[in-house]
Symmetry: C2
Subunit: 176 residues, 2 copies
């Protein structure tokens, strides 16, 4: 994994991929599947996401205010769904799904070795947590696997239906 | 355009497509391009989005608390970028881009006839508006064009690079 400029984080999340979110709390790592997230600002990268109080990760995220957003490619799709179909309440997901935890630099939550990108995040705003489970976080360190070129991500359409990234088109834009 | 159940709105937005956001303020309609949005809840559908105070639409959205999120297919990609490359300050975008405004049922902002789906929204939470331009909205009425099957949307990767929807895969999931 190589350092990724924080100013490029939005390019990973703006397309709306399904991601994994890891936490570490009381000596125990956990990981959930998530696709309700969006960019809030470019640099430092601010990211909003929804982690429901029904999710086992909610307590860890609220208490530690730290997580890692890891982005899987389509080859991990079945695993990503399986991770979303069970709870950290009764499953040690890292071992159950043969995920390789990596040491993050700025947070205690683990990186996911199988993902092509990992973003270490700290929660910076909790005003909408009680009402919606909406956390605003800052990306404080980002990693990318340079060996993977043009990684194809997946996008959830509901009930286990996913769209895989197709062709890329380029249009003249003034938008960053 | 046909009525779409509000419980299905998340299936349109969760994959992270680039969308158009329309407003109507002081008798003037406007439209912007946006891809910083996410689902917040299923039903009623709650949607969060970022509209910066540098966007001309910001004042209209804050004042009227109403908008329409319209979802374009890939055939509109060039138009979507052009809409994002100019400002409602000095362009009448609906006429400049030959968009067909449609009468919404519950809000004053117009539907976009060229888009395959339109979601009428009312702002329900403005606590994070001053700090981040983050609006939480409720989808109050949704429309879909039944003539368009499997519409392909676009996802922004930065600087005018877009991914087009590719193949669909189905995996057994307990996730809605």
């Amino acid at each position: 994994m190589k350092n990724l400029l924080l100013s490029k984080v939005y390019q990973l999340l703006e397309p709306g991929p399904v991601v994994l979110l890891t936490t570490s709390h009381k000596g125990r790592a956990n990981v959930m599947t998530m696709s309700w997230h969006m960019m809030v600002d470019f640099e430092p990268p601010l990211i909003a996401c929804i982690v429901s109080d029904r999710d086992h990760s909610f307590a860890a995220l609220r208490a530690t205010k730290e997580c890692v957003i890891a982005i899987p490619e389509v080859d991990l799709a079945e695993k990503v769904v399986a991770i979303g179909n069970c709870s950290g309440r009764n499953v040690e997901k890292f071992s159950a799904f043969h995920l390789t935890p990596g040491q993050a630099e700025k947070v205690s939550a683990p990186l996911v070795g199988e993902c092509f990108a990992n973003i270490e995040c700290r929660v910076v705003d909790t005003r909408l947590v009680n009402r919606y489970g909406l956390f605003v976080m800052e990306g404080v360190k980002a990693w990318i696997d340079p060996a993977r070129e043009n990684p194809k991500t997946i996008h959830h359409k509901g009930f286990g239906k996913f769209i895989v990234d197709g062709e890329t088109i380029e249009l003249t834009s003034k938008m960053p």
